[in-house]
């Protein structure tokens, strides 16, 4: 064991170093920037600066190695973080694009009512498409509004652009809409502005093509002409569609030598396969002006 003299000397040495450190701390905090310790610090830095520069250059490869090792370790975590960010941003982008699409569609839907000739006072009920027919053969959609919202059978349904179909089944909170591209669909229509009337029915298997039939050959129909619902009405029967709802635009006319009528091909104005929002016209409304819808 150590004798007491050694122990005292050891403790004294420790006390001296601690007191010196605390004293320097106190002085350093107490003095101004031009004080003794600050001056010594600046002097030491000036003296060692060339040495530091040399060591710094000499150790660059070692520093790079540490940096490479550190980056390698960090890269894994950073990669995961960036992946999470990408996923998050993709989700946000998807939401944003969806919202933009919805806004555009809803604006067009609202704008549809302001087109010339569109029936007024139809009391439209907005609905979201919740079910879509997955094939081109069975053209129906389900919407999230039903009889509880005032929806009844055979009411016309419009979307951004124009007519999309009619209500064929209703429950309390939902309804089924048969589209104008369904095989069973037939809509009394009128070519604007010359007034030639006919029946629009689908070309089965091609939802982007409708056929306007029963247009006599004497009536001139040109490409780009708009076709709207005719809304015919007699004392006994009337079309379920009020007059003036845009249906499609003429894209081709097939004159048949042996037939009495022309075959007019239409492109539906509404995006039948991509609709998300529709409006059910719960009242027949009144057409005040049989004009040409806005382009």
């Amino acid at each position: 064991m150590y004798d007491s003299k050694v122990i005292r000397r050891r403790r004294a040495a420790l006390a001296i170093f601690v007191v010196l450190s605390l004293g320097m701390l106190t002085v350093y905090f107490g003095e101004s920037g031009g004080g003794a310790l600050h001056s010594v610090q600046r002097g030491a830095q000036a003296v060692f600066a060339p040495l530091e520069t040399g060591v710094n250059r000499a150790l660059k490869p070692v520093r790079d190695l540490f940096g490479w090792v550190g980056d390698t370790f960090d890269a894994k975590g950073e990669n995961e973080q960036l992946r999470d960010e990408v996923t998050d941003l993709r989700e946000r982008l998807g939401e944003s694009e969806t919202a933009r699409h919805d806004v555009r569609e809803l604006r067009q839907l609202v704008g549809l009512h302001e087109t010339d000739g569109f029936p007024q006072g139809t009391e439209p009920v907005g609905a979201r498409v919740i079910v879509r027919s997955p094939t081109v053969w069975y053209s129906t959609i389900g919407i999230d509004k039903g009889s509880g919202d005032g929806i009844r059978l055979d009411q016309p349904v419009v979307a951004a652009g124009g007519l999309v179909g009619k209500v064929t089944d209703v429950t309390g909170g939902s309804a089924e809409v048969t589209l104008i591209t369904d095989a069973s669909s037939a809509v009394a229509a009128q070519v604007m502005p010359n007034g030639a009337t006919g029946i629009v029915h689908p070309v089965i298997g091609n939802p982007k093509d409708l056929l306007l039939d029963y247009i006599t050959k004497g009536r001139r129909v040109t490409e780009g002409t708009i076709v709207v619902t005719s809304g015919f009405a007699t004392d006994e029967v009337q079309s379920i569609f009020p007059r003036g709802i845009p249906i499609g635009r003429v894209v081709r006319v097939d004159p048949d030598e042996f037939e009495q009528f022309q075959r007019v091909h239409l492109a539906p104005l509404a995006d039948i396969r991509g609709i998300d929002y529709v409006q059910v016209l719960t009242e027949r409304g009144v057409t005040t002006q049989a004009g040409v819808p806005a382009q």
Binding site: Q41, N56, F73
Partner: protein, 192 residues
């Protein structure tokens, strides 16, 4: 350790080399969120080979040099490293460690003590500092790195100090390995 100019010179060279390497190269390289800290390792190595008082003196000198060159609060590092050097030196004097891998736990303990105590001093001196998860992670990573590089650092320090050491703990270990004057079961006085 012998009290000769040669001994002081070797210690001073070790301190200068450690501080220069620290501030010029190794300190800026980050691995696992921590950094290689040579100062506590060199102080601990001197303390483990030379004892408590040389360890405390080495800690004071290394800390002072570090504070002067880094531009930090003069006295803070020297206070903490004095404690580290003294503590490791006392451990050596009391427990007399001689295992070949003792550098690893000693290096880790010295680094941990240094980073924790220096953080405590910094928190006391700097107003508004808070203990964050980042600080704790840096402490843990620095301690781990200290443990990893402790063996080569201690070996270099031992090589530098060996000519001026009165007793080398590792030499004691070697002597224990070959007990020539012991009996067949390793106990004195039981020779057959």
């Amino acid at each position: 350790m012998k009290r000769t100019p040669d001994a002081y010179l070797r210690c001073a060279l070790l301190a200068i080399a450690a501080v220069l390497l620290q501030i010029s190269g190794l300190g800026s390289g980050r691995v696992l969120g921590g950094y290689v800290d040579l100062a506590p390792l060199v102080v601990a190595a001197v303390a483990i080979y030379a004892g408590a008082v040389p360890g405390a003196a080495m800690g004071f000198g290394t800390g002072l040099l570090l504070d002067l060159l880094v531009g930090g609060t003069v006295g803070a590092s020297s206070l903490v490293l004095t404690a580290v050097g003294y503590g490791v030196g006392r451990y050596r004097e009391v427990r007399d460690p001689a295992h070949g891998l003792m550098a690893i736990p000693v290096g880790a303990a010295a680094t941990l003590g240094w980073v924790v105590a220096f953080a405590a001093v910094s928190f006391m001196l700097d107003v508004g500092a808070t203990v964050s998860w980042l600080v704790l992670r840096e402490m843990a990573a620095t301690t781990l790195l200290g443990a990893i590089i402790a063996l080569p650092v201690f070996a270099i320090c031992r090589r530098v100090l060996r000519p001026v050491l009165l007793v080398d703990p590792l030499d004691l270990r070697r002597r224990r390995r070959a007990p020539r004057d012991a009996g067949p079961i390793g106990l004195r006085g039981l020779e057959v």
